[in-house]
Amino acid sequence: MCTTCGCGDGETRIEGEDPHGHEHEHLHADGTRHVHSHSHDGGDSHHHAHAHGHGHAYMPAHSHAPGMAKGRMVQIEQDILAKNNAYARQNREQFAKRGIFALNLVSSPGSGKTTLLVKTIEALAGRQPVAVIEGDQQTSNDAERIRATGAPAIQINTGKGCHLDAHMVGHALEKLALADASLLMIENVGNLVCPASFDLGEAHKVVILSVTEGEDKPIKYPDMFAAASLMLLNKCDLLPYLAFDVDSAIAHARRVNPGIEVIRTSSTSGEGMAEWLAWIARGAAAARG
């Protein structure tokens, strides 16, 4: 990410954006310059409030001999995630104003998130407007799978990035045909580590653990399970063929997060779908106010 304004490092791509938008040149204190391009189109569509302050000191080269005297102390006392949290706050305000119920879905790769999303959208058709933001390092395959259901979806490719951040989501929101009072499902990059630290402005993180994984995953990756409000124990139709201990998995999750809710789901058999849809309906009703 650009360290000056937090915008595209040439890796992050949001569908529909011109990757060769406009270029910025930065002059560093030591006289070196570097140029980077912003991967969003400029002009009026760029509504997402943006910290464009350029934090470089345009000062003459210093003449201090290193090691001679103690440097000056500057107190900072700032949270490193403050920038992300400020973008997350903007997203959250937008959701609140428009009655949108936003969920951040997190899991390992291969937990069945996208299939569960497709089933959820199909079940909600005609009852609840739904839109999806898909995060993956590469390809727009998942967004295409979602769009095949008729729901609006936009893909964010993080390039080498391991998580979505609130700034990327803010830009994706500008491109997404998101109706008021929608359910917005943000499918994060498949990764049980990094997305835990980055608030996107969602109402809840929902962690999906499939029963083909280990039941001790909640304590192997405790930060994610501690950050989530709900755990979907997915692919439950496979339980008869596995040695997976459901009670042990739930006990592990509650050890890191005593308040976590749990629903057993299966996209194949439909188990737990009614309970999951009821959970969504309660949240969506609360978001509409």
Binding site: G53, R72, Q78, I80, A196, R254, R255
Partner: protein, 113 residues
């Protein structure tokens, strides 16, 4: 590798401070990293070196101030130190424990010219 994003966030805070305060070189940076913050201090120091090349913080010493994890036991109501979020209370052995500290990631102070 979200340590890379975190390191970029640190550099961003430094550059903002430089434009406010007018310094041109950073000698030392002190960063507070909680035991339960989900960040590996050594990986963060490595990433900081990488992202600060060519910046005013190139070559700066990266000092990590470790903050222990702290929790409040639901069972006995006492404060206990936590190495991980799922640790048992050190006093009575109960789980779970409510996390009360050690999740922070803050830039504390800079030594600058």
């Amino acid at each position: 590798m979200h340590e890379m994003s975190i390191a970029e966030g640190v550099l961003q805070l430094i550059e903002e401070a430089a434009s406010r305060d007018g310094f041109t070189h950073v000698r030392t940076i002190w960063v507070e990293i909680g035991r339960l913050s989900g960040v590996e201090p050594e990986a963060l120091a490595f990433c900081f070196d990488a992202v600060t090349r060519g910046s005013i913080a190139e070559g700066a010493a990266f000092e990590i101030v470790a903050v222990p994890g702290r929790g409040l036991c639901y069972e006995c109501g006492r404060e206990t130190e936590l190495e991980a979020v799922y640790d048992a209370c050190r006093h009575c052995g109960a789980v779970p424990v409510q996390v009360t500290g050690g999740t922070e990631m803050r830039v504390k102070e800079l030594e600058v010219d």
